[in-house]
Every structure is written in structure tokens, then in C-alpha cells.
């Protein structure tokens, strides 16, 4: 018995010794005087003590690499080739900030958990326990130095501080964390929803379409073409993410329509920068369309930009209005003046299923103001135009987290009307608080790796805390 215990301890120590010795190595691939070698003097900022622009850029990469190195457990070095030269085409209106991904994908290697499945080379190396492509780097990253000039995005700059205090600039540390995660495996083997050689990437094997009840690796290409825009119903199927979701997401604030049956259900909402926060607002009642004169201040009778023509009907009711033609604040003031208890703004574009945030400053607005997508709003308005009474309730739903499906899966980004092929290798933007791997780098992000780490564990990475980290 003692011999068995001794052998077990030795084995455990051996495993532990072989794990976690791999490093995330940043390889400077810029030419002299450029990018990571830029000698332009720079003042230390936000904990970044570099004294040249190049040093500061490198320090950010090293800090991000150190973060992933600390979080992930591998015995094979992960080599990241970085360039930070100007990328053509960025001008005052926009351009490419950068790109990153695995340098290579590999399938059917010795030790592959799934056959006929593409793995990013860094993960494949980790699973194989050896460097499968020793003459190649594992991740490539290309960033745009032109952001640091007025010609690219005007006065917006990269922020090289490490203190999450980027202000209106772009926090490079967060961007690098995000892009490295793509290189570590939050990506496919080709542009989504395509499959390289009709075989899935390991990420694809966790993408579940709730409408079809199928994962992407179980679908035909035609089914994936539809699934990629199935907003709200394309989710992540992975036990580690599922077990840790409530650590990172807050209960959802939702607009629940209670009647009539055809539109009953819960709707995603966008919030306003003014008025009481939706999460603490008390709002329930029937919905009434706001109407005003069509005039030069607002050419539609449903834009709520001028004096309302049905103010009496709105008293004590929830007003609904179309977005556009005037500010959100004007609409809110008009609704409030009519005695409405709250305002729902219907988006005026179907470019995204995501209800817009609403800017503005108005300390005098005391009613809650929320937005809904054009699709959802029009469904409600169609009922109203038929004189059907629509009842709704704005409330925090403790049974569902912001960014998850009603079944508890975390939603993937599947914008309803964007070009098929838009990257689904992100979390849905409805997640709240924001997550690192949403398709936009949100200004409220901390410098954490949140659910992204757990997603990497679901595809095969392990952490120093355990080979299969279910919850920590």
C-alpha cells in the first residue's frame, strides 16, 4: 500500500514538473527604428516605464504574454511573432488596428483528442507534449503603428499604460490580450462559417445552435450559413464556461412583454446614459405609441421629436417611439411631459440585432428610457397598430444572466443581418459586464481574462490550478 502511495506521489510530482514550464515568448519581427524598435522618446505612462515608443509597445506585449503564461499550463513554449509597423489604409475615418491568429492549424497529430479536427498549433503542441512545428512561430500578431499619428483615426492613439486608464484612447494591453486569445484557439481554421477542407476547428465543436439543436460540427455548410446570423441562439457548449458564468455576468435586465401571446417574451434592451438605470427602475404597464406632427423637426409621426398629438393617451403608460430625427433626450422629455412612466426607443436600423445604447445628458429626465432592436420594436408596434393592448414589465431577471440564453448557455456573436462570415469567435455583445472576447474592445473592460480563460479550457487548455478546471 505504501508503495502505491509513493508511486502515486512520484507520478504527481513528475506531471507537475512537466506542466507549466512553457513560456509565452514575444518575438520582435520589426526592422530597426520601426514598431517595437521605434526610438521616439516617450514619457512613462500608467505603470509602463518604457522611455521610447518601441519599449513601451514591447512592455505591453510582454505584460500580456505574462498574463496568458500565468493563466495557462503548457510544457511547450508559445512563440508569438509581432510586428508593429504601419498598416496601409488607415485614415481619419478608420482602418485596420491589427490582426492576430494561430500561424498554423494542425489536425490528426499524435495525441489529438479529436480526429479530423483542426487545432491551433499552440494548443496542438500542448496536447502533443512537444513542438510539432519547431521551425515555425505559433501565433502571429500584426499591429498598426499608424494609430499613433493624426492620419489614422485622428487624435485617437494607442494607450501604452498598464493601468486600464486609457480614456478615449485604445488600450493596447486589452487589445493584445484579446488578439492573443484568438491565437490560442478562439478562432476557426478559416473564415466563419466556412470549414477548412470540410473539417471543423476545435472551437467549432463547442458552437451550439439552439434552434437546430446541433453543434456546428454536426451541421451542413448551408445550416451554418443560417446559424451564423441566428442572434441569441448560437451559444457556447462547454462545461467550464458554464460552471463559471455566474462569476462574470450579472443578472439580465429585460423587457418582458406579458401579452398578447404573439409578442409575449423577454427582449434584450439597451440602456440610456440619462434617467434612472434600467436595472433599478420600476416600470410596468401598457405600451402606447408616441405620435407627433410630421414636420421639419421630425418628418415622421412616430419619431416623437415635437409636441405630441396623443399626449393624453400616454399619461400613465409606457411610451414607444422610433429612433432618429432628434436626440434621445428630446424624445424622453416629450414622453415625460405627457406623463408617460417610461420610454422604449425602437432602433431605426436592422444592421444589428443589438439594441443601441443611448447617449445624452438630462438630469431632468426621471423616467426610465430603454431601447429595443428594430425587429423586436416593430413586432410590438405591429400589435399596437392593430389596436391590440400590449403589456410589458421592465425587470431584473435573477434566473438569467446578461449574455446568456434562457437555457444558461453563454451567447456567441451572431449578428442577425451582418454579412455571413462575420467573426463568430467572440461572445455576444449583450454580455454585461463586458467580456474580453466581445467583438469590440469596450472601454469598461478590466485587464482580466474573465470567461475567455474558461473557454480556452473547454477547448483543451489546462491551467496551473488543475488539468480540468471546472470552477475556481
Amino acid at each position: 500500500m505504501l508503495r502505491i502511495i509513493f508511486a502515486t506521489v512520484v507520478l504527481a510530482l513528475t506531471l507537475d514538473a512537466s506542466a507549466g514550464t512553457g513560456r509565452v515568448i514575444i518575438l520582435n519581427s520589426d526592422k530597426p527604428g520601426e514598431g517595437l524598435n521605434d526610438p521616439t522618446p516617450a514619457t512613462p505612462v500608467g505603470g509602463n516605464n518604457g522611455t521610447t515608443r518601441g519599449e513601451q509597445r514591447m512592455n505591453v506585449f510582454l505584460a500580456a504574454a505574462e498574463r496568458w503564461q500565468r493563466e495557462l499550463d503548457t510544457n511547450v513554449d508559445i512563440r508569438v511573432s509581432v510586428t508593429f509597423a504601419p498598416i496601409a489604409g488607415c485614415n481619419a475615418s478608420g482602418g485596420v488596428l491589427g490582426q492576430a491568429g494561430p500561424s498554423t492549424v494542425v489536425r490528426d497529430f499524435s495525441g489529438a483528442p479529436r480526429s479530423n479536427t483542426w487545432y491551433p498549433i499552440a494548443l496542438a503542441n500542448k496536447l502533443a507534449g512537444s513542438d510539432l512545428a519547431p521551425n515555425q512561430n505559433d501565433i502571429f500578431a500584426q499591429f498598426n503603428a499608424a494609430v499613433d499619428t493624426d492620419t489614422c483615426l485622428g487624435s485617437t492613439r494607442w494607450y501604452y499604460g498598464l493601468d486600464a486608464n486609457s480614456g478615449t484612447d485604445i488600450d493596447l494591453f486589452v487589445v493584445v490580450l484579446h488578439e492573443l486569445a484568438h491565437g490560442l484557439g478562439m478562432s476557426g481554421a478559416t473564415g466563419s462559417p466556412g470549414f477548412r477542407e470540410n473539417r471543423p476547428a476545435i472551437f467549432n465543436t463547442h458552437m451550439l445552435d439552439l434552434t437546430l439543436g446541433l453543434r456546428w460540427d454536426q451541421m451542413t455548410q448551408a445550416q451554418r450559413d443560417v446559424s451564423v446570423t441566428n442572434s441569441g441562439n448560437l451559444v457556447w457548449q462547454g462545461e467550464t464556461v458554464r460552471a463559471n458564468t455566474d462569476r462574470f455576468l450579472l443578472p439580465i435586465t429585460t423587457l418582458t412583454v406579458t401579452s398578447p401571446a404573439p409578442v409575449a417574451g423577454s427582449y434584450d434592451i439597451g440602456s440610456a446614459a440619462f434617467g434612472p438605470p434600467a436595472a433599478t427602475a420600476s416600470l410596468a404597464g401598457t405600451i402606447v405609441q408616441m405620435r407627433d406632427a410630421a414636420n421639419s423637426d421630425g418628418p415622421k409621426e412616430t419619431d416623437g421629436c415635437t409636441t405630441l398629438t396623443n399626449a393624453a393617451q400616454l399619461n400613465g403608460k409606457i411610451a414607444i417611439v422610433d429612433r432618429g430625427d432628434c436626440t434621445f433626450v428630446v424624445k424622453a422629455r416629450n414622453a415625460q411631459a405627457a406623463g408617460a412612466t417610461g420610454l422604449i426607443v425602437v432602433d431605426n436600423s436592422n444592421a444589428s440585432c443589438t439594441p443601441p445604447a443611448m447617449g445624452g445628458e438630462a438630469s431632468d429626465v426621471t423616467i426610465p428610457v430603454i431601447s429595443v432592436s428594430q425587429r423586436d420594436g416593430m413586432a410590438i408596434q405591429t400589435q399596437l397598430s392593430s389596436n391590440v393592448v400590449v403589456s410589458a414589465l421592465l425587470h431584473v431577471d435573477p434566473s438569467q444572466l446578461a449574455g446568456t440564453s434562457q437555457q444558461g448557455y453563454v451567447r456567441l456573436y451572431a449578428p442577425c443581418t451582418l454579412e455571413p462570415g462575420s467573426s463568430t469567435y467572440h461572445w455576444d455583445a449583450v454580455a454585461s459586464p463586458s467580456l474580453l472576447m466581445e467583438p469590440s474592445i469596450n472601454s469598461d473592460l478590466s485587464h482580466g481574462v474573465d470567461l475567455s480563460l474558461h473557454q480556452l479550457v473547454d477547448i483543451g487548455w489546462t491551467t496551473p490550478q488543475g488539468r480540468r478546471m471546472l470552477r475556481r
Binding site: 511573432s81 475615418s93 482602418g95 497529430f109 489614422c152 434621445f328 445604447a357 451582418l418 467573426s423 467583438p439
Partner: protein, 130 residues
Amino acid sequence: MFRRTHYVIAAAVLAILPLAYAGTPADESRTVEPVQSAEVAEPAIEVAASPVVAEAQIRADLATVFRPEEESVETTNGVMATITTGEVLLARIGPDGKVIMACVDNEEAAVRFLAGQVERSAGARKAVEK
């Protein structure tokens, strides 16, 4: 002249990319000497005459980012394929003057975003708009 400049840019970026992806010996201290194995033309930055960017111009600029896929190769360590395009992070100035970002993996989505056809990206929910 304008078009010729783009050819220079494209040539420069194509010359640089293999360096970026090529294997480089790992450095123990993580920071390594820069790769200087080839002379390349100085990449230039184009400045648009107008904030409204023509779609054709955007496509030309993106040609250096979205590159054709490469065939896979059978090796003793499995079947491998080089990734020519990663997840591409884009930015544009939104209607309120603030930066909007999107992360895409195909040229069509990138063109739509940069051309402003997609006014609000996913992250706009958290941005401040008017």
C-alpha cells in the same frame, strides 16, 4: 501616382509578412533581437481626401490583410495549414465622433464595416451615441 503608391505599399507589406510569420529562435529573456534579414521598402500611409472612403479603395487597402488561403500539407506530425489571415480588428469613427471597433475574419465584413454600411458594431451598445 495614387495607385502606384498602393503597389509599393502592397509590395512592402508582402515583403514583411513572411518575416513576421517565419520561425525565429526563441529568446530566453522573451525579448529578442529584431529580425533584420531583408531590406524592405518603407511602408507609407495613405491619407484619404475625404472621410467618406470609397469601397474600392478600402478593398485595395485590405488586400494586404486578407490574403488567399493556403493548401494544407501532410507532415509527420499531422496535417498542417498556414493561416494567412487572423482575426482582424478594425476601427472607425462613429456618428458621435467616438471610435467604434469590430473584429472580423473576412474581407466582406471588413469592407462593410469600414465603408460605414454597418453603422453600429456590436460594441456600440456600450458606446455613447446621439
